[in-house]
Amino acid sequence: MMWLLFACFTQSAWTEDRALAPHLMRMDRDANGVVGEAEYAGVLWNGPSFRVADVDGNGELSTRELAILLDSQSPTTFDGTVVEPVKASSGQPPLLSREQREVWEILVALSDEHRRVGGEPIPADVFSAAVRSGSLSSPESALVLGPVRETFKQQGWDWPNLGLP
């Protein structure tokens, strides 16, 4: 019974008028119960003039007129111009070879573990050269793997079975 009473109470209350009334009343700065031209001007920035928004011309904005106002404006326009969100990245970057990517993944991962226990950072130019070599067996990669291997040894960690030299 309680459930039915609750359901009856809550139903039928969702209407356009009730949905928009609190938002309309927020504009009612002088609390006289209506939103007039001056109050509308206080929040107008990119929409139609009050004369247009006040469809019935009675000098007050109603919830129906607010619904029309919402429906008539797009959030993707700014001063009448459609604005596209900015992409985080633009342009097509060059592709790396699979070997270079794998080298990078492994070296970054290992040097991160090395850094987490206080190892000296690997200089960026040394790191980049190792990645460019595309091989974990290259002399360039050895300059990265050397200090990392030493850290692993000091920590008593197994050298990962990742095909490393």
Binding site: W14, P75, V83, V86, A109
Partner: protein, 470 residues
Amino acid sequence: MWVVLSLLGIGCPAAVPGPRPSIVLISMDTLRADRLGAWGNDRGLTPNLDRFAGESILFDQAYSQSNETLYSHASLFTGRYPSELSALDDSFAIPAEVPVLASVLGTYGYQSGAFVAGGHMSRRYGLDRGFDVYDDSADWGALVQTTTPALAWLDSLASNASFFLLVHGYDTHDRYLKPTPFGYAFGDPAGLSLGAEIARTTGAAMRVVGGALSPRVDPIMAMVQSHPRLEHGRRITSITNDVRRLSEDDVQQVVNAYDGAVAYADAGFGLLMAGLAERGVLEKSWIIVLSDHGEGLGEVGVFSHRMLLDDSSLHVPLLIRPPGGIIPQRISGIVELTDVLPTILDVADATAPAGIRGFSLLPTVRGKAKPTREVAFSEGASRLFTARGPGARVTSSGIGVSNRFNADLVAALPLGGVSVRSAGNAAEAPALRDAVVAWRRSIVVPEAVKTDVDPNVHEMQQHGYWDATP
């Protein structure tokens, strides 16, 4: 009294023979939980959502599984973590072999329609799979744009049809400044501060880092600058160009604009609810309201969601309203948006597919159980991962696990390949750290991407490891 009745199961929906119950899922993009009155906000932004909460079960600690629209919705539609679906980059797609919510419901006779606001919800990312109708034409639009076709679709259905309706809008996504009268409902239109500049300019919000606005900084690069594993890149890049400091007033200008957007979203939500009520949908359908992620509002100097994996970007509203409404309850346990799919399938009396990570919340809605999660996991692009416990969060950076190569690498690393930052109750951090490492190691990589290597080309470039002219 209601609490007692509720605990006894009185006033709770029971399974009813006949057509399977219809379900409406409302996704309010980029809406932070803490902007709703029902979550304690006192600015009066959300009268309709608050009223809806008064007829619903409110999940106080719901966390999305990603800070990006595409990854979050893909997780929502599959009940899996984003890394279990694809590499988290521009190639992201749900593998064909992974069952999706609309497809599963379709096998039980549901008609399904999605009315989404394009952008990262565009059909080109494959989110349309399983829907009978997938309207993504309201590109970057709001609920007021997607509601009209959604209601028209409802009108086209047979009166006894079981349906699944998804309505989505970017109402609170940047650019924060929304149409009149909401754009300046909480701010000053005469303001010409840096904050106003951010509020008015799409994408500019993402350029704010560390309390400074630098128009020339790539947002991902900016994130990289504060990334603990990127000392290498930090040395060879610069963000010093055109940096200007934001004042507290600037920050408030942005927050004011975002709050106006929240009110705009609430108005759109109210109109959608009115349309549903007019069609009798509220009496006979389950309504679920959520957001895919939140938004950083300058707490750590960033106005964006893409660059953060903290509560500002991951704590989202989650409300479940059974047909006709329910005696409201606030559930304080941790839940994930992965729990929504099994909940919906439970409501539909449909069998959940194997491999999902979520747990049905229907027993909680019915007052028969509490959420059992101890930790919520989330992940973002740029290889950030986080575990959220009851009183703390740890955020880790590390290599991605979205392909077999990286998964093997994670398994081989002594520290699990993560650097951890923690916030909140420090006593919780060690357990959360262990949890996030174990979780990363539990990720099952989909067959389709096992043999690929995540290119990470963007990330490499932005670290400074690689340039365009090798």
